[in-house]
């Protein structure tokens, strides 16, 4: 048996616990045994997403810069190896498999009700054994080009990326996760191998499993299949990003019904537990001001300025970026922006409804408990915590410690109407007041 550092981490609420193992290969492994469930869910993830475009390893003099969309391209290609594809192997076990790439991570996953161990072997094997040829790379370009086109027809996607482009001057969060039809043409097998060997290092990765599994069996498989690798001390750089947004408003057109809008506040980036607390504070402060319980919501609904789509979005954050937004549909989004700004300015001076804040805190606690209901949510929670540099279950404790005064102070100090972007997508020919 290989050496392991391990600890049991227990939730302060919800009665759950998980095992955290730092494997000698460098991989962080999280396992939550849920014996009352039939299913199991596993995620094998790396801290590699669309924002990781400039990097170097120990001993390298220059930073490498790679084409936009390469992390996502790599995710697609990893499913193939020399003899057979991962999907064909999963077909032998019956597992439902998939993968995703976001701004700051890539994760490969499967869910199953039986044959967990062989499915885990497939997962660990194919992610650790890349095989790319120029022929298979060329073949993938048509598929990914259609994925990019699909996203271009998604108005919410357009709204979001237009806003990011206005919030960020240079940070690569402003580029599309899948890149562009043009940028993916620059990708070749050599570049894929380079990115793979940089980011798919077990010191930069995690395995998260929840469900009807046995930790000892998982660790035995890990001991057998994890390929030891040296920590190359990955170094990443991001272009210097000013605090101020680059543009305050962006309008775009697409075939849509009621115009869509988002009003996003660019915040100072943070990391770890500090970021988690800031996310909760921003969400709670804005929810207290704009939930369906508030007077402003009632008035705007009555005046037909908004519909039920109006609400505070989940905070958006990662290495060097952090924002929180309010969005929905409106035929007069500029007036909605004015009303939102007025409410925020007023709250900065006069404070906000303390009872409403306490209700929303209770409500947030309820949603955290609810999210522990499924194996999928628990495995994802452990992966998220690893990616954010915090321990599992910390969000419940951090929430418990948040006070009305913290939220008000955060609103006063951090949520600045002068640092917000209004993004609108409307139908061609429709006039936006």
């Amino acid at each position: 048996m290989k050496q392991r550092n391990q600890e049991i981490i227990t939730s302060p609420r919800g009665g759950q616990s998980c095992l955290h193992v730092t494997h000698e290969t460098g991989l962080d492994i999280y396992i939550m045994e849920m014996p009352d469930y039939h299913s199991a869910y596993a995620l094998f993830g790396t801290k590699y997403g669309s924002v990781n475009t400039m990097f170097r390893l120990d001993g390298e003099k220059d930073f490498a810069q790679v084409p936009e969309g390469i992390a996502h391209f790599l995710e697609h290609k990893l499913f193939e190896n020399e003899d057979t594809g991962a999907f064909e192997q999963y077909a032998e076990t019956g597992a439902i498999a998939n993968a995703y790439t976001s701004f700051d991570r890539t994760a490969y996953l499967f869910m199953c009700s039986e044959n967990f161990n062989p499915s885990l072997e497939i997962l660990l094997n194919f992610v650790q054994h890349p095989y790319f040829t120029q022929e298979t790379v060329d073949k993938e370009q048509g598929i990914i080009a259609q994925e990019i086109r699909m996203n271009e027809d998604e108005p919410g996607w357009k709204l979001f990326f237009n806003s990011l482009k206005c919030m960020y001057h240079r940070h690569p969060v402003r580029i599309g996760i899948a890149g562009t039809v043009e940028s993916i043409q620059e990708i070749n097998a050599d570049l894929l191998y380079r990115c793979y060997h940089t980011f798919y290092n077990l010191h930069n990765m995690t395995l998260s499993v929840a469900g009807n599994v046995k930790a000892e069996e998982i660790l035995e498989i890990c001991d057998r299949l994890l390929v030891p690798c040296e920590d190359h001390h990955l170094e990443e750089v991001y272009p210097e990003e000013p605090y101020e947004v680059s543009q305050h408003e962006v309008l775009d057109t697409a075939p849509v019904g009621v115009p869509l809008f988002s009003l996003d506040f660019k915040l100072r980036p943070r990391s770890g537990e500090e970021l988690l607390k800031a996310e909760l504070l921003s969400e709670l402060a804005l929810d207290t001001l704009f939930s369906a319980s508030t007077e402003i919501y009632r008035k705007m609904l009555e005046e037909n300025l908004i519909n039920f789509g109006f609400g505070v979005d989940s905070p958006f954050s990662g290495s060097g970026y952090f924002s929180v937004g309010i969005g929905g549909e409106s035929r007069n989004p500029r007036e909605v922006r004015n009303r939102i700004f007025q409410v925020i300015q007023n709250a900065k001076i006069n404070g906000f409804d303390k009872q409403a804040f306490e209700r929303l805190k209770k409500s947030k606690y309820g949603s955290m408990i609810r999210s522990m209901n499924s194996v999928e949510a628990n495995a994802s929670m452990m992966l998220d915590c690893y990616m954010c540099g915090i321990r599992p279950f910390v969000p419940v404790s951090v929430l418990a410690g948040i006070t009305y005064e913290d939220a008000l102070q955060f609103l006063r100090d951090e949520i600045n109407p002068e640092n917000a972007v209004l993004s609108v997508v409307h139908a061609p020919g429709e006039e936006i007041l």
Partner: protein
Amino acid sequence: MKETSQSLGQGIEFVSIVEPKFKTTNISVAFLLPGQPEQFAQWALMPNLLLNSCQKYPSIAAMSDRMQELYGAYLDNAIGLIGDTWQMRLVVNTIDDAYALEGEALRKEAASLLLECILHPNLETDRAFAEQAFRTEQKELLDVIENEINNKRSYALKQARKTVFRGETGAWPMYGTKEEVLALTPELVYQTYQYILQNAQIIIYYIGTQEAPELPELFRNAFADRTVPALRIQSPSPCKAEPETVTETMDVSQCQLIMAFKAETETSQEALRMCSMMFGGAPFSLLFSNVREKMSLCYYCSSNMSYGKNTMFVTSGVSQENLEKTRSAVLEQLSILQKGEFDEKLLADAKRYLVNALKLTGDTPSSCISEAFERFIRPDHAGIEERIRLYESLTKEDIIRTARAFRLDTVWMLTQKGEA
């Protein structure tokens, strides 16, 4: 898990699922009626009108406050067609009492809230919904109809259904038309609600960590006996003599291709689902491994069955220049199934996949409800074990026979404006 069911009266069923592993309480009330397209607009308006306010919490703000107090409980709803039967679900979900920080009886409170919404809606007079609440929901529904264009894939499917199911209930838009919504009044919708309360088949699902002995009594008092309506759940759709092709244009980056195939001979649900799974339901299926992976024509090209309608939809997003090539490729893959030019491994893979998916049932409250509901609507009321047996018993010959029963009915395309 312990599941029990009981009749609370004629046309009213109560299903209790006790599962200690969950951390939530979920109560769902399903109303089922034969689909009447001319009523769809008012039926669509109803769920939000019932759940966004009620007599006790007479505004959106009051209702929102109450749900926040109940630890972010949510009232949810869904409407849809199963076969030609219309369904409305009203749902309340809250965390289990064990997690309440101040010992609140959340299950009891959640059940009371849902019953308040159903039995004591927000009325202006004893014959009409409150005018202001009605106007808000009417505007909302008009926006929902206008926004159907936003998601191109689901828009294409909805448009295709108009041709695929022409002359049948399924051709009609679930939310009605704008004109129909504008013609509604608070009185008319209230009358229709009374009709639903008195005539719909009702099924109540409770899922929680403990027995809830008080619930059957609460719901028994809520609803009167009714004559069970004749529900058309199995309502096969006739195939057109010749396939029909419809094209719509829009300013889009990607074209949408929808192909509808109908099985012309009677075939079991399991054979239809297995056939669709092998055709385009999973990453090992013919459409995924050939049209996507080998031919690189698209990001997605998948198939699925419309329950009770013997209709299989294939959906794909493709470039304009590859539309025809993709259409031909889909037909070619179907012919492989029809000619039996596939190996037994494909069938074995599909069996494993479907059996695995069935065995996942029971790990989320929503899958427990879906499973209980499927048993209710199936003519044979088969449970999971029986369905697994049915899947396992399918042979290559069964699949060939089922694939041969499919004929192309409709090709619907959303193409780029200004292009041929």
